[in-house]
Symmetry: C2
Subunit: 228 residues, 2 copies
DNA sequence: TAGATTGTTAATCGATTAACAATC
DNA sequence: TAGATTGTTAATCGATTAACAATC
């Protein structure tokens, strides 16, 4: 924030806040990651009928220091009520606005095996505005079957579906050996985010983001702090 | 590292290194998390027959800055060869030593549904020394069935199995509504790490660590950086 | 009012990175 | 040797936290 030689005033700060939300600078990696986690907890708290939540409670569930939680929020406005806490509903929509993920986003799922079916029937994506609009598999016996409300299709339909349904995210719930070739297809079809549940080390062009899910890594990490 | 008024010498530094590995201070959260991720990539690289890997390649797969990767390693010794890179096998065993997760660790899995079966039949835990030694479910129709090499048991056997098999980690692949009560049972049976794949916000005593897996959170986060 | 909790400051600490000599 | 890549320094930047006035 450059304001020449003046000390920044309250008005400057408010302006930079709105900018930051509207279309200003990107959030830092850490802030974006934490806001996403708060959102998960808040979504669940809302389901449980909680109307108000304190930074202390959020800290219990996220293991983020309560001061930092308040700080993360106060950078964007005064969302809380002293002595009371934050209104869950209001906070959810503020964070969604900040993360610009208020809308619906369509995802394509590969693999109709156990993992694929678990993902398709879980609330975990739906709660955050992600909708599984297509499931693909290469196994002919699975094609045409339905998983929840969605019919399993053959991977050859990928390209058409991606364009039709405006799919930005592809989720890979396939064997490690099959992952790279599907990733190549996804890239070619214009998908920009690949969520990889296999162990494959995927090679993609720089404009595509790969996120490899690694429960074992998280477990190693948790175990270290238990052992020490 | 306090060395009084002397400037630390090479001998001091080497000593503090060995300490750090042997039984010295805990790693910081960030270092432990990154080392775990390197381990995942290295394990897969090894499977693919790779003998050597550079900090640049590790960076491509982990999105961690190459300088930081070299720095993370050099804190514990000189593991690499200039102009060549790091030997994959040697690096894996060094990191395992640092993280103290060289041995086998037994885990108990709850829920023999799609997700539970996907976890039980995946290599992802096995590759890092975690073995699913028991699967529990409350559905009578599932009890007695086998998932891979493991028989599904009723949750009433939990306590005995935890003691017998020295189980430190419990994995919850159950519906959100059932998670808290199983978590309570696990805590009572002495399990110290709970890996939660449900959406439940679990309440546990402070000596127990809960890790809630949240693919949707990761996705929100990835999406933010795509949208901006 | 009394108690609780936010918003914010100020100080510290650790993470990050560019750059480059060392060396395989 | 020439090219590549490590190990390490030094400088910067952002994260973290304790503390507390403000205020619901």
């Amino acid at each position: 924030m450059k304001t020449g030689e003046r000390v920044p005033t309250a008005v400057d700060l408010a302006a930079s806040r709105d900018e930051a939300i509207a279309s200003g600078e990107r959030l830092s990696l850490g802030v974006a990651a934490r806001l996403s986690r708060y959102l998960q907890v808040l979504t669940q708290a809302k389901k449980m009928g909680k109307e108000t939540i304190s930074s202390r409670e959020l800290s219990d569930y996220t293991h983020v220091n309560p001061t930092q939680i308040r700080r993360d929020f106060s950078g964007f406005g005064k969302f809380g009520k002293r002595g009371v806490g934050y209104n869950v509903d209001a906070l959810v929509s503020q964070i969604r606005k900040i993360l610009r993920t208020s809308g619906q986003h369509n995802i394509a799922l590969f693999g109709a095996g156990h993992l694929g079916q678990a993902i398709a029937s879980s609330d975990i994506f739906a709660d955050h505005g992600f909708r599984v609009v297509a499931i693909f598999d290469t196994d002919k016996r699975k094609i045409g079957q339905t998983v929840g409300p969605t019919k399993v299709r053959h991977a050859t339909e990928l390209r058409a579906v991606v364009e039709e349904e405006d799919i930005v995210v592809g989720v890979l719930a396939v064997p490690t050996a099959a992952a790279q070739s599907i990733a190549d297809d996804l890239v070619e079809a214009g998908v920009k985010i690949i969520f990889n549940y296999s162990e494959a080390l995927l090679q993609v062009p720089p404009e595509v983001t790969v996120h490899t899910s690694s429960p074992a890594v998280d477990l190693l990490y948790a175990l270290y702090f238990y052992l020490t």
